[in-house]
């Protein structure tokens, strides 16, 4: 039996001096090799959960294991296993695409040869080769998103966290990014994805969890959940399980 990509057990977390999102006795398991979608309305706790899984936030109780490694106990060694593509564009706009990849490659601990070959490969795959020496601040929105993604996968992560990786991009860039992510998954990378774009989510994910107010309200294979609740699309299922009233 393979080790799960993520195992969350009895997790407890709340923001200090702040009401709102909190997790109590939260449990979740994400299998290795899955394309896992984490969904919920605004304020449900998706980003908080992702920050907890990537070690950006420290939890109070319970455990989060990444491919069997407790992230609280080994935060730095665990950091080499996963990649993170944050919702906020996370690179240096004053550098070129090539320079950004070289810098982050060094921070992942890759040696110079690997950085060079991987940079070349990623720029090609993501259609950025002709613009590799332009400053990223001069890129279009779609190109910026692709640079953001390239940095996250620079070190061939076994688990890839994606927080709205295609927000604000055109159809072509989205198609390119989703295609690339599927290919990575076929090569063995577990994808943990969150987005408000449910069509895209349905295209990418094979398993999902719907969370609301720090609790899981549904967790299964996407097709099984749709069958069980009698919906044809993810939007109907989403509205049924999380309600129709406005959220923050």
């Amino acid at each position: 039996m393979s080790i799960p990509a993520i195992t969350i057990h009895d997790l407890a977390f709340h923001y200090p001096r702040q009401e709102g999102i909190c997790f109590e006795n939260f449990n979740l398991e994400i299998g290795a090799g899955e394309r896992f979608g984490l969904f919920g309305p605004n304020g449900a706790g998706k980003t908080t959960l992702m920050n907890l899984m990537t070690g950006l936030l420290k939890y109070e109780k319970g455990s989060i294991r990444l491919l069997g490694h407790e992230i609280k106990a080994h935060p730095k060694s665990v950091n080499t296993i996963f990649g993170f593509v944050p919702q906020d564009l996370s690179y240096y706009p004053e550098l070129t695409a090539r320079e950004n990849l070289a810098f982050y490659g060094a921070w992942y601990g890759l040696d110079r040869k690997v950085i060079r070959s991987r940079t070349k490969e990623l720029l090609e795959v993501l259609g950025l080769t002709s613009d590799e020496n332009r400053l990223v601040r001069n890129f279009s929105g779609g190109m910026k998103r692709r640079v953001n993604l390239a940095i996250g996968v620079m070190h061939h992560p076994k688990v890839l966290f994606l927080d709205e990786p295609t927000v604000g991009v055109d159809v072509q860039s989205r198609h390119h990014i989703i295609g690339y992510l599927k290919k990575q998954n076929e090569l063995g990378t577990t994808l943990i994805y969150t987005s408000h774009q449910l069509e895209e989510a349905a295209e990418l994910c094979n398993k999902i969890a719907l969370i609301d107010k720090g609790k899981i309200v549904a967790h299964d294979k996407l097709d099984d959940l749709l069958d069980k609740h009698g919906h044809e699309g993810l939007e109907g299922l989403f509205l049924e399980l999380t309600g129709k009233r406005f959220r923050d």
């Binding site: 950006l56 730095k76 996963f82 564009l89 690179y91 004053e94 550098l95 060094a106 601990g109 110079r112």
Partner: protein, 426 residues
């Protein structure tokens, strides 16, 4: 090591591509040092080379009023205009403005008779037997008004006091002369010979001013020696404006979040900032000192003589730059917005500069501030620079200042690390 190298390259590229930022980092400090040195040099010139414009209103009809005017002329530091009528105070103010005078002196009516009667009284008492000297002295002739010195409000207290001292010495010469004359006449029953009078009144022991220097040099420090090192320190610490802002922006940006999820520690980013911006501060100082040494004579400013112990200068500059960068990082770690960083950074550097003796010499500060000034890194940096630039000292003469500066730097680093930990940044 590879991570640190990559981070240094990244920081250097970002720095070099920000042309406006670079301009501000180098041009503004140079401008600051040139302007401050020019202003201070003109003050120095005013006191030492130029003459102070003085209006004298002589309302006295006697000879001593005229002698006083002549005596003031002999002092040599005044450009005088004499008039006989002072008129009203408002007229004095108007005339000072019209004639561009900084000081006006009013010799009151009855000045001659007052001085002469006072001299009479003193000589009578001095020549009488000791017992009769204990008797109540006769009052000198009444004077209708006191001598008044009007001054322009721009004159600072120290400058005003030196002008007042010069005028007072002229009055004392007149008084002394009158007393000596009276005494001589009483004893010898004839007037004082002119040569004896001059010998008594003007044969003072001269005082030579000699600057103390560790190197034995007797060269008189000029405005550049005083101001360039002081304002260079200020310029180096002003890196807080750019670096503090960069720290805050990076901390709040997505790139920082990503760095936090990476295996290399965030301290790499801090070391890189220390190295890159440390180099910037040292380069700033090098450019300013070179301009002071090579360019100042061509723009009418006194040349900046570099210390003989160049290695000591390099060490002080590196330690000072290191401290300035750490201060900027500390401000950047605690500030939540660039506005907070810029506002606090700029004001705090001004306060530290004031405490450090850049605006007013430390020795002139009140006793309760004497202990507080030791907390200012700018104070120790300035002491070290003055030890080299003004006193001609060597490294052994200023190592205590360097150690104190390093001590404060390590304290700042400790505060920074605490901030990084408490804000979950490392």
């Amino acid at each position: 090591m590879q991570t640190l190298k990559a981070t240094i390259i990244k920081d250097l590229k970002i720095l070099l591509r920000d042309r406006v930022g670079l301009f501000m980092m180098f041009f503004m400090p140079i401008l600051l040092v040139v302007v401050i040195t020019s202003v201070q040099n003109s003050t120095f010139e005013l006191v030492n080379n130029n003459k102070v414009s003085l209006l004298v209103y002589n309302d006295d009809n006697g000879p001593l009023g005229r002698e006083l005017v002549e005596g003031i002329k002999k002092i040599g530091i005044f450009k005088m205009q004499v008039t006989d009528s002072a008129g009203y105070v408002l007229d004095i103010s108007r005339q000072m403005h019209e004639k561009d005078a900084l000081v006006a002196l009013m010799i009151p009516p009855g000045f001659t008779s007052y001085i002469q009667s006072k001299a009479d009284e003193i000589s009578t008492r001095a020549l009488s037997d000791p017992d009769s000297a204990k008797q109540t002295p006769s009052r000198p002739a009444a004077i209708s008004d006191s001598m008044k010195m009007y001054y322009h409000p721009v004159m600072q207290a120290s400058f005003r006091q030196s002008v007042e001292g010069a005028l007072r010495s002229a009055v004392q010469v007149i008084q002394g002369e009158a007393i000596v004359k009276k005494l001589y006449e009483a004893v010898n029953q004839k007037e004082v010979p002119a040569d004896l009078e001059n010998q008594i009144l003007f044969g003072q022991l001269p005082i030579s001013e000699i600057p103390v220097s560790r190197s034995g040099s007797r060269s008189i420090p000029n405005a550049s020696q005083h101001n360039v090192p002081a304002w260079t320190i200020f310029a180096m610490f002003f890196i807080v404006i750019s670096l503090g802002g960069i720290m805050v922006r990076e901390k709040n940006s997505g790139s920082f979040i990503r760095l936090k999820t990476m295996p290399a520690g965030y301290l790499n980013a801090l070391f890189s900032k220390q190295i890159v911006y440390g180099m910037v501060t040292v380069l700033q100082a090098a450019v300013i000192f070179t301009i002071g040494n090579k360019l100042f004579p061509f723009i009418g400013l006194p040349v900046l003589h570099l210390p003989k112990d160049i290695w000591a200068l390099v060490i002080v500059t590196v330690v000072c730059g290191y401290c300035a960068v750490n201060y900027a990082i500390c401000v950047g770690v605690y500030a939540n917005t660039p506005e907070q960083s810029n506002g606090f950074g700029a004001i705090s550097i001004l306060i530290l500069a004031a405490l450090g003796g850049l605006l007013v010499p430390s020795f002139a500060m009140p006793a309760h501030l004497q202990k507080i000034i030791q907390l200012s890194p700018l104070h120790w940096a300035l002491e070290a620079y003055y030890g080299l630039f003004l006193e001609g000292g060597k490294l052994r003469d200023i190592w205590m200042n360097i150690l104190s500066l390093l001590g404060i730097t390590f304290l700042i680093e400790g505060i920074t690390l605490y901030g990084l930990k408490s804000k979950n940044l490392i």
